[in-house]
Amino acid sequence: MLAESLFVMLGTLSVIGALGMLIARNPVSSALWLILTLFCVAGLYLTLSAEFIAVVQVLVYAGAIMVLFLFVIMLLNLGTMPTMKGVGWKKAVGFVLCVVVLTQLVLIGATGLDLLPATEVVDVANAGSATTIAKSLFTRYALAFEVIGILLLVATIGAVMLAKRRFA
């Protein structure tokens, strides 16, 4: 019962945060709404007993990435946004596409679940702990782990080079 109410609360808050991000006029408040959503998603990971992922979510998303977004927004000084123009046909098509995507995903989630192979759940209590993840990450996925390190290094260098100075 507690888990259900927690899920409903966190889910509602995350959807509210996402809608606020979509609707807010000021980019700074948009980013703050998205931070609310990211925290609620971290809480949802906790209800799934994925503690390590929840902590990484707060550290990486709500900590690093959103600070980067806010930093860039304030660096660019985007206080005055142009008012939204009227509803053109592009926006109407975009809205219809969103509704189609949502309907499709919900239909798949509602009807296709019994097609999943029934696997026995092993050791759910520890399935999300840092120990379990680290065992898998440093043995079976060690190569991917190293590659992702190189990717982050390349991305850092690329970001610095892109943002450093005006192109010739």
């Binding site: 948009s30 969103c98 399935a127 892109l162």
Partner: protein
Amino acid sequence: MEIALSWYLTLAAVLFAIGVAGVLLRSNLIIILMSVELMLNAVNVTLVAFSQSMGDVSGQILVFFVMSVAAAEAAIGLAIVIAIFRNKLSVDINDFNLFKW
């Protein structure tokens, strides 16, 4: 697992659809990037939900990698936004018509 898997999938679908709406409807480049992050988060929710429901830790490893790639993507994307803003003094996608015929 007290909560059904389909609840998590439905919530993730709603979050993903809101992200799609953000990409398609907003014209601010930074908000589009934030919507992409929201879509990645929605997919992460489904991955963790499936991982717990099947008792397999690989889904959470994949979430870890998705977060790393999202961090790299945010850094590069924002650097590109800054570079464009230097040239155009705008982050409105309707002002960028260099590749448009």
